[in-house]
Amino acid sequence: MCTINRNNFEANNMILRKFWEGRSSMITAIILLFFIVSFQSTIAQEEIEGSHHEAEQHSEKEFNAGELIFEHVLDAHDWHIADIGEHPITVPLPIIILDENNNLHMFMSSRFEHGHAAYDGFKLEIEGENKGKIVPVVEGTMETDSTRPLPYDFSITKTVFAIMFSALLLMLIFITIAKSYKKREGQAPAGLQSFLEPIILFVRDDIAKPSIGHRKYEKYMPYLLTLFFFILINNLLGIVPIFPGGANVTGNIGVTMVMALFTFAITSFSANKAYWVHIINMPGVPWWLKFPIPIMPMVEIMGVFTKPFVLMVRLFANMLAGHIVVLGFISMIFIFGAMNVFGGYGVSVVSVAFSVFLSLLEILVAFIQAYVFTLLSALYFGMAMEESH
């Protein structure tokens, strides 16, 4: 229990550092995280004191807010919906792993029975450093085989499944409205089309055109629109608490990293000569800033990489913070409930009110973050193509 707590504490610290890069919603998240952490330590302390005279199984049932929150915001190999008593209800997802001999193993995650069974020489680790990962086992047992390396995990995890779902949803929505554009050619938009057209026009007129310029923006519209709607739909689906929503897609660093890398790649490929000249040999800067110690080029080259990095971290931290704060408020009900039943009931009123308020705030944040990511991507494209002056 204590080691888990320490692990969580380290992870929390890590998030805290990331959060400083974000915005005001971060501050709330930090305050709340401190609350959670302090609750965890008090509970842990009580446990240590109580463990002398109470049975061992009690600590297993003890509610741990940090654990709950991390289970929800982290990727998983099955989609946990609810628990009935001790039995979890999950949607099993496909496991695809490549072992050290380049053998591909494919099976459903239900084979692992939530970490209680090994299958095909692998098991789902439920404790320790590799918690939640698929690890090799000693043949015929449940023992972790630490001599073998971890397999490459290409599983359709909860996040991957959510990405696929949102991608299909986006295709369905936009191919449908593309058809209605063809059908109602030259007419005013109707239905879903009239709902989405202002957003499409917003991306075009308020993001792409001013950032990239009137002549070159058209080439980047498909990427910017895809990016905007992908982030938006995943942000919004993340607020929906039930399957197939609720996955923390845009609050996952891998997802935001890929999108940031796309922006980085497009920026680099569309950059003109002036952009590279500005990086390597910034005009109008005193020579001693470039020679013998190339301070300016170093700063500029760092800037090339910090731009996508900041994109990645901003979206990740904002969305993660939203999820953590909402889950934190929900967890508070159980934390207080564990101390006193009436305390739990009393806090639940406040918690639910705050969760509703924060969820509404998250809807706003969903739009703002999609806007910011798209706007900054467009700005980077525009900067890369700026004519020398």
Binding site: A167, A178, Y181, V255
Partner: protein, 164 residues
């Protein structure tokens, strides 16, 4: 640490799915949508420009019409004034002509009457002279029946002559 370390599988799938999504949406959604929107916008701006042009033309036409109307009205007024003048002229002419005709007729009548009167008078004079002569003859015949009387008269007459 899992929280801030991107998973290999996730990055792989995300790249794949996002690329596919980008390509499919670009081909089947964004291209037709953006071109439709652009077309419609061009249509709208063209229509608006045409509406403006038409409005300008309408205004021009209206102004022309107004001008024509004013001209027509002026012309009409001029015609009416002219006609009035002509009418007055004609009436005046007719009046003058009628007057002179009437004067002529009256003059004629007066002359005729004068003539008639003169003729009648002269006839009456002749008749009166004849009648006087007849009466004088009859009186003379009666007076001069006796000789004495005749000589007395002659003498008387002579005396008067002497005086004269």
């Amino acid at each position: 640490m899992d929280l801030v370390l991107p998973g290999l599988g996730l990055v792989f799938w995300m790249t794949l799915i996002f690329s596919i999504l980008l390509i499919i949406l670009k081909k089947f959604a964004w291209k037709p949508i953006m071109s439709s929107i652009k077309e419609r916008e061009q249509n709208i701006s063209a229509s608006l420009a045409m509406a403006k042009q038409t409005k300008r033309e309408m205004e021009q036409l209206k102004a022309d019409n107004e001008k024509l109307l004013v001209e027509a009205r002026n012309e009409r007024d001029a015609i009416i004034v002219e006609a009035n003048k002509t009418k007055d002229q004609i009436i005046n002419d007719a009046k003058i002509k009628a007057q002179s005709e009437a004067d002529r007729i009256v003059e004629n009548a007066r002359l005729n009457i004068e003539n008639e009167k003169r003729a009648a008078l002269s006839e009456i004079k002749t008749q009166v002279a004849e009648l006087s002569i007849e009466i004088a003859e009859k009186v003379l015949k009666a007076e001069l029946e006796d000789k004495k009387k005749q000589s007395a008269l002659v003498e008387q007459q002579l005396e008067q002559l002497n005086f004269n």
